[in-house]
């Protein structure tokens, strides 16, 4: 059930499903159409290049599918010596397909073609391109490697750029919809940011956090995102807390590839650990409080340019707060708030469920239910099983809710058995 990779499951089947890189796609489509219509283009091969996960291979597959080409492909998992390439593809480049479909040849992952094991491979590919009577497509991450120079001159170069954040988010959103997952926009934005233009890695991340869930929130993804970046965060924190100039504290962030919201949480958590003098702590917390106000302003006005003030206050503001403290070695702690948010969720959901039950019966808001009625319910559930059982029936509370209100397994059992007895 979980064995299917979402990168496969949601691989685009047609060109229109491939996100981003519109220019490259249309350039390629035009070129392939010419082949299809029997006009042999000036360049018989297209060389697709760009960073991983930008859709080069899927574009070719979708293109072949859309235009009805039979795709014949080799990639880095195949041996690609001269002999092998000639055997697998050489004939295909000439003859028409048995199925009657025109053919398209794809040499994927050319970066992986190795001098010794794949001896003569590139030479064979050049030979095929020269004599090709069907479209040939080459793919590599870095086309500027000297070994590709002769090939480059023979090919139409098509650049694939990092895919924009919005396009990645759209793609992730589509997957979530198909999987029946409610996704927080901020969570998707975080995944898209982290992917840095690589759609595939974004989908891999999404599957890792979202599979089997009904909902993903920012906290889910932020928590995951931290693990591999802990060292980086520690370094940045050290630089900020030790900075003696604003510019140093600011630079500490610029150099680092860390999520700013997450960095804020780390700083907020560790200010009282880095600084000892209460006056310094108060000044640093005041800087964070000011940064937070700009966050609020951004939420209300959507003016993202204000973000620079958040950065200023949370780095330079915090750094300049220290007059008395000289932070030495600080043992940084993981942001408790993030931990609370990700752990406490089930508890809060339960609380909300009980509040909803109270709301239905008592003509109050869920907030009032939580603050003004639930405390008394707790007292009753902890003191009086009969009264509690009666109220549990009246409010239609389940066993989980009863356990939550009693905070005592034995008491809860007593109440539940009373409920069942009647």
């Amino acid at each position: 059930m979980g064995a299917v990779l979402w990168t496969d499951k949601y691989k685009p089947r047609t060109l229109s499903e491939v996100v981003g890189n519109e220019k490259a796609k249309s350039k390629l489509l035009e070129w392939a159409k010419a082949w299809k219509e029997g006009r042999i283009p000036e360049k018989k091969a297209a060389f697709l290049y760009g960073p991983p996960g930008t859709g080069k291979t899927v574009t070719v597959e979708a293109l072949a599918n859309d235009l009805g080409f039979e795709l014949i492909e080799t990639n880095a998992s195949d041996f690609r010596t001269e002999a092998q390439i000639k055997r697998v593809i050489g004939s295909a480049a000439q003859a028409a397909s048995l199925t009657g479909k025109p053919r398209m040849l794809l040499f994927d992952e050319l970066d992986g073609i190795v001098g010794t094991a794949d001896a003569g491979g590139l030479k064979a590919i050049m030979g095929i391109v020269k004599q090709a009577r069907c479209p040939v497509i080459l793919i590599a991450n870095n086309p500027w490697d000297p070994k590709f120079r002769p090939l480059r001159e023979m090919c139409m170069m098509v650049e694939f750029k990092r895919v924009g954040k919005r396009d990645i988010m759209k793609h992730l959103q589509r997957i979530c919809e198909r999987e029946g997952i409610r996704a927080d926009r901020k969570a998707l934005a975080f995944l898209a940011d982290r992917a840095n233009g690589d759609v595939r890695s974004a989908v891999v991340d999404l599957q890792a956090v979202a599979q089997g869930k009904k909902e993903i929130t920012y906290e889910d993804v932020a928590w995951l995102g931290m693990r591999d970046r802990k060292k980086e965060i520690f370094r940045v924190l050290g630089n900020i807390f030790h900075a003696d100039k604003c510019s140093r504290a600011l630079a500490a962030v610029k150099e680092a590839e860390v999520d700013l919201d997450m960095l804020f949480e780390w700083i907020y958590e560790n200010v009282p650990r880095a600084y000892k003098d209460p006056r310094d702590v108060a000044r640093a917390m005041d800087a964070l409080s000011r940064a937070d106000m700009f966050k609020g302003r951004i939420i209300r006005t959507q003016d993202w340019g204000l973000g620079r003030y958040i950065t200023t206050f949370m780095t330079a503001g915090v750094a300049m707060a220290k007059e008395k403290s000289k932070p030495g070695f600080v043992k940084f702690s993981f942001p408790e708030r993030i931990r609370y948010l990700s752990r406490g969720r089930s508890e809060r959901e339960l609380q909300m469920k009980i509040a909803e039950a109270i709301k239905r019966r008592c003509h109050v808001s869920t907030k009032e239910a939580r603050e003004k009625i639930m405390p008394y319910l707790r007292v009753i559930f902890q003191n009086n099983p009969e009264m509690a059982a009666g109220l549990a029936r009246w409010l239609d509370l389940d066993e989980e809710a009863i356990k939550f209100l009693t905070a005592d397994a034995k008491r809860a059992k007593e109440i539940i058995s009373l409920l069942k007895a009647s």
Binding site: Y268, P272, R273, P278, R279, V281, A282, A284, M285, D286, L288, S289, D292, M293, K295, G296, R297, I298, I299, E336, R337, Y340, L341, G344, E347, R348, Q351, K359, R361, C362, H363, V364, S365, T366, K367, E368, R370, E371, K372, I373, P375, Y376, R378, V379, I380, Q382, N383, N384, E386, M387, A388, A389, G390, L391, R393, W394
Partner: protein
Amino acid sequence: MMMWTEKYRPKSLDEMVNQEEIVARLKGFVKTGNVPHCLFAGPPGTGKTTAALCLAHDLYGPEYHNYIMELNASDERGINVIRETVKTFARSMAMGKVPFKLLILDEADNMTADAQQALRRIMERYTETCRFILIANYSARIIEPIQSRCAPFRFTYLKPEHIAARLKYIAECENVELLESGIGAILDVSGGDLRKAINTLQAAASVGKPIDADVVYSVVGHANPSYVKDMIEAAMEGQFLKAREILRDLIWRYGVAGTDLIRQIHSQIFKLDIPEKWKIRIAETIGEIDFRLVMGANEEVQLSALLARLAEYGQLMGRGG
């Protein structure tokens, strides 16, 4: 078994023994079969929601649920609820002999300004088919144009003797022994809030002993632990990390809202054993943070900044580190 607040909630205006003037006016509406848009304003536990439900009952009879819609603005405060749910209800024809339905909008002061603007038009356009009863703690938070469309009703705290009488009546019906000292204690902790008083009574009754002052205070102590006080003290003794821990418990485990916390902190400050001029200085800081709470994105960060200030003041006062 029900919550006693619901079991003993008056069903009809005749059963309402408090807010006499208001009840009399509402009875007048029932008599004429006509109700204007109303704004019920006043502190919690003074009978606003009860009065609205009683009015509906007396107007439409025991099946009044079919003619009214109850919405709580603090749960459904967005403009979409107003534009969709409220509008759909308001524009549909009434089915009974009363030509209009009632929409009871509780905690209306929690509505956003946008939603209130949208509501204003709907109130005007669908007056024939729907009358609104807005319920609010603070009428000032309702925009002027809506206020001017509503008949205002100002609910006041119940008198102690009225609350005491109600408590005695309930205790008798429930066969609970309620002692004079217990009544005094409940009045003390509940102010003029009848709902709080009845909830306290029920929680005290659950202990299973005759209800005296000790029982009441121990129950209230459990229901409202002194976390806020502990938090302030920890901060002022220079234990900022401990204070922040308590803050997190309050926000994340107990779900207390930031604005409520700051209100509680504010009232605690004046009970502290510190020089008087410092109380004013702290109050000023609290006010600043209260403002930032509204401006900011994250309550915990703002309240932590306040705790850090308290720790600083604590040191300056020569307390703690």
